[in-house]
Symmetry: C2
Subunit: 149 residues, 2 copies
Amino acid sequence: MDDPQALPPSLTALTTYLLSRTGKTARSLLAGRFAERRLRLWHHAVLAALSDFGPHAQRELAVRLAVDPSDIAKILDELAGDGRVDRVRDPADRRRVTATLTDAGRALLAELDAEAAAVQDEVLAPLSTDERDQLKTLLTKVFTHMSED
Amino acid sequence: MDDPQALPPSLTALTTYLLSRTGKTARSLLAGRFAERRLRLWHHAVLAALSDFGPHAQRELAVRLAVDPSDIAKILDELAGDGRVDRVRDPADRRRVTATLTDAGRALLAELDAEAAAVQDEVLAPLSTDERDQLKTLLTKVFTHMSED
DNA sequence: AAAAATCGTGGGTGTAAACCCATCATGGGT
DNA sequence: ACCCATGATGGGTTTACACCCACGATTTTT
């Protein structure tokens, strides 16, 4: 009971503390796996956006993911360098560059999704299937609420 | 349905994604409040540890909170500068410095706890009392599991 | 008594994330 | 034609965080 490594109960009693700690390690577990491929979480997010919603102008990606446009440009630079996305200048509006997922991009996305699922399995290991559903439902409520205002 | 700000469903369907996003904003909401007092989350954690477990040598704090000893020294510098903790050299082992919570420290901790509770209420606003209990139980399971291995 | 280990402390480093700005190319409005 | 707004991009700054090393003072070990 006097474990010198025990965290203060007044902290671990806070749901928000548990939330931020578990979220942080989940995030960094996945980030660690991505790093082995020299990728960051944003690469995954960009690929997911292109897959879920189809081709985007870069500014559209920036708005959707709430990232600075210049950062999107850098991420796409890396993805395009590896042939994961095609960047073509929009003939209708030659300022815009439309990013499209390539087959290689789709393949990479599938791998990253698999990594994410694996990490999720690891993190949620102590929960039953029912409990995982509960957790997802609860977090979705919290997340959508704080995305609104 | 084609909200240009909508996040990729393949991301928001991931419980771990929701976990890290909600955790991150909860963390930064509280950090923002603390920043108004020129404090960081670690100040709260240190005060909580001293309150929950009594006086610590600095190294003990470092072990308990899994923080680098030199960082603990800096945090205690600031807390002691404001009279929130006393640092006295241990007469039995004059290398050690024992940190103890002062009354002012206890008062500050109470305020920070109140801030944390307020943020938690804000974050968990969309959940009923039952649901909050469920969430806490689930997160505790996840957290203790990943603290073990 | 000499050597090795420990504690606190100051002064760093590395890195990642978010942000900001200037610029060039283009488009739209008047 | 001209002016202003917009998109992409390169090159930054800032901030936070974790980490690490070296040193002086002390204690422990041999």
